[in-house]
Symmetry: C2
Subunit: 450 residues, 2 copies
């Protein structure tokens, strides 16, 4: 007699299931069974149907199912400054455009609406986890908690005036409170608190050491901009007598798990440091090229065993939060820089956006692969649009021909957030109305600034 | 008394109308009136409404209207080989994958279905004109004529075996017949015949001179791959004793209007030649980076006054036909190569995809700008999706945040080809069925080849 089939919350089918798990990477005509936020089975549709049943089944015709994409570095609320100032030299952009407008408009409201807009865009495009760094992090966390996308929200310290803290002591206090609050909610929220340090040029050595200590105490990652620009390298040499990565190594900063964004300007010897300390390097190809910061030596990082993920950076330098574009651009830049089309093949690029990205941000044991026991952060992607026909290789197809608009369904912790046109945990029309209001304020401020 | 309003075929409204015409580039709350395939007026909605009326009006709420995009170099039918072989060294890709499969499968049927698929994708993404180079050009022209997209179809000669000609004499005969046939239909078709020469390494000097003579006789452009690879430079030096551009100049090849694709490997002195002879350079950033051919010095071309357009190349090296991605990548590559974010600003990039692209292919007096008397190749693009909110600068927005999927309507010669989900001149379901059949054949051939 057959044993009865286990009832699960939902089963997602796909013509292809890409697990990103080495042991069984690509399943034709596959399925993922999900219960209580976790993956309970991944396999051939026939096998999964044999063991599981559900009232909620998502057809897999003309789709591929894969882990949700991991956006390892962004500034979600800055989506409200999308295209605010482009094609401008970096320091002019920062000092004459972004800093003044942020001082004028960044508020709880700005961060609430901006983070909602960012979550909307990311969920639409199949991003299920993002690592955020911005002001009013408590507000960002609340939005993430409500909407149900997974967010690593940085409680960030920066030795500069800001609208959400009276001084740097207040920033440390807020960081401690934030981490304790959200850590205690751990099993009931998609919010993960992490520490943030803006950069080595906006924090001094004592502050960086304090950050490391706090990270070790809480056993949490530190999210930081690192080796992004030649300016930063020069600053580091002048101020600390060393290049940025070597300097951080010298103060044992990498004893904590570090999520390092950009990491463009590194020496061969520093690449070994990144590998040795298992620093999570987040590559941001669009931002790095658009504001002309440089091309990160990603192929060399991978050769050296560095854990690399991908990120969009904020929409003020990108100008969108589209991980598919980051995948493509990451591949193109390495191929043409090395003059070798075999560098960063599609499979590797997909890893950066999923399994390796999850490792880079310290969540490799929970997300980034479709495997029994993992959290059910899953996306289902259409394969039926003109720009996707025909298909010979599913991995190449996802990296080189798939767009954010092809994402059909987005699940986080097993909860469906986007279902083929419908958003299930927030009202995009309401977000759109609020974006219009806040952006009108921004435009008015802009007029007064110049 | 007011004069009565002129009845026109259609009026397209837009919250913004980007004319790409220097005299009046950006009209808020604008409109384009169209009659008999031509633009009869461009202006403020209020003014256009005052002078014109139509039974067919397209609302402009949350949209921008601009000239259709010009894809200056592609191989449309190769869309059937999208993702057929990626991440492979160029010569292996060509000799062991593409050439054998093309020899096995390229037929009238292949070109008919592949060109239909390419037209579908391009129309969906707002491309209104493309310059094609492939086999069975008569079939491609028939598809373009039926569907109504504008196609410059190259009657191409290449000194290699091919499935559509018995020998090179047959190729010349076919080219003459093709040009005479389609030139005579000029006023009744969107097909524009041009001459094609594959490359300086697949034609000898006498054949290239014959091509030039034919181009001068018919007063038509010659479409050619030029200075694409280091292989080509080396071949040219060995065979002709000169680099590719200098060699072509030495045989007066540029006396005809040349549409030169890629043009990556050029010296400063050759850049002056490109400018002097008004060569139309088509930049293909995705293909150039993906197969690691190199980064074309586009900023230097523009500084020298070279006319530059953009192209996707074929989907076997891209892997899509998305001009929005080409725009972005063109900007990113120049900015990061020059380490200067002001290089190739959004406005200039948009010109490459529209007005300058039209000039580069010899159609600058007919398409590429929205101006009275120009052919009505017009697109209307949505501005209401998550990744487009908010908006501060329409040009920056189009280049850095707009995707092919945001295109709402596509018009060629005033005819609406795509209307917010509906295709009006072909049946995408039928194309899809045929693509499935042909791609099954390709897969079967692939198995037999290895």
């Amino acid at each position: 007699m057959n044993s009865p089939r286990q009832v699960v919350e939902k089963i997602i089918f796909g013509d292809y299931v890409l697990t990103m798990d080495e042991t069984r990477p690509n399943i034709s005509d596959g399925a993922v069974a999900i219960d209580q936020g976790r993956i309970v089975a991944v396999g051939c549709a026939h096998d999964v149907r044999g063991k599981f049943t559900s009232n909620t089944e998502y057809s897999g015709t003309d789709t591929v199912v894969l882990p949700g994409l991991v956006n390892g570095h962004t500034h979600a609320a800055m989506t409200l400054l999308r295209g605010y100032s482009d094609d401008i030299p970096l320091m002019e952009w920062l000092n004459e455009h972004i800093n003044p407008i942020e001082a004028a408009v960044v508020s709880e409201e700005f961060v609430r609406v901006g983070t909602q807009l960012a979550c909307w865009e990311m969920i639409r495009g199949g991003t299920t986890t993002f690592v955020d760094m911005y002001f009013f992090h408590e507000v960002a966390a609340s939005v993430v908690d409500e909407i149900g996308i997974r967010g690593l929200i940085s409680a960030t310290v920066v030795d500069q005036p800001r609208n959400d803290a009276v001084d740097i002591d207040d920033q440390w206090t807020q960081a401690n409170e934030f981490i304790q609050k959200w850590t205690s909610k751990n099993q009931h929220t998609t919010v993960r608190p992490v520490l943030g340090g803006h950069a080595i040029y906006t924090l001094n050595q004592a502050q960086l050491i304090q950050l490391r200590e706090l990270a070790l105490e809480y056993e949490l990652p530190v999210h930081i901009h690192l080796a992004e620009s030649q300016f930063e390298s020069n600053y580091s040499k002048t101020t600390y007598g060393n290049t940025p990565i070597n300097f951080l190594a010298s103060i044992d900063f990498f004893d904590s798990h570090v999520i390092a964004a950009h990491v463009i300007w590194s020496t061969a010897q520093e690449i070994d440091i990144l590998a040795h300390y298992n620093v999570g390097v987040i590559h941001n190809p669009t931002s790095n090229t658009k504001i002309a910061s440089g091309i990160a030596p990603v192929a060399a990082y991978l050769d050296a065993g560095v854990t690399v993920g991908l990120g969009t950076d904020g929409a003020a330098t990108n100008n969108d939060l589209d991980m598919w574009e980051e995948m493509r651009l990451a591949a193109y830049l390495q191929k043409v820089t090395k003059m070798d089309p075999t560098v960063l093949p599609a499979k590797v690029v997909l890893e950066l956006a999923t399994s390796k990205g999850a490792e880079a941000i310290g969540l490799g044991s929970e997300i980034g692969t479709l495997r029994e026991g993992m959290r059910a952060d899953v996306i289902q992607v259409d394969l039926k649009n003109a720009h996707q026909l025909p298909m010979y290789d599913v991995e190449s197809h996802l990296v080189y021909a798939t767009h954010a608009s092809d994402v059909k369904r987005t699940f986080v912790d097993g909860q469906c957030l986007y279902d083929d046109g419908d958003y299930l945990t927030f009202d995009p029309k309401s977000v759109r109305r609020q974006v219009t209001l806040v952006s009108n304020t921004i435009r008015n401020c802009q007029k007064n600034l110049y």
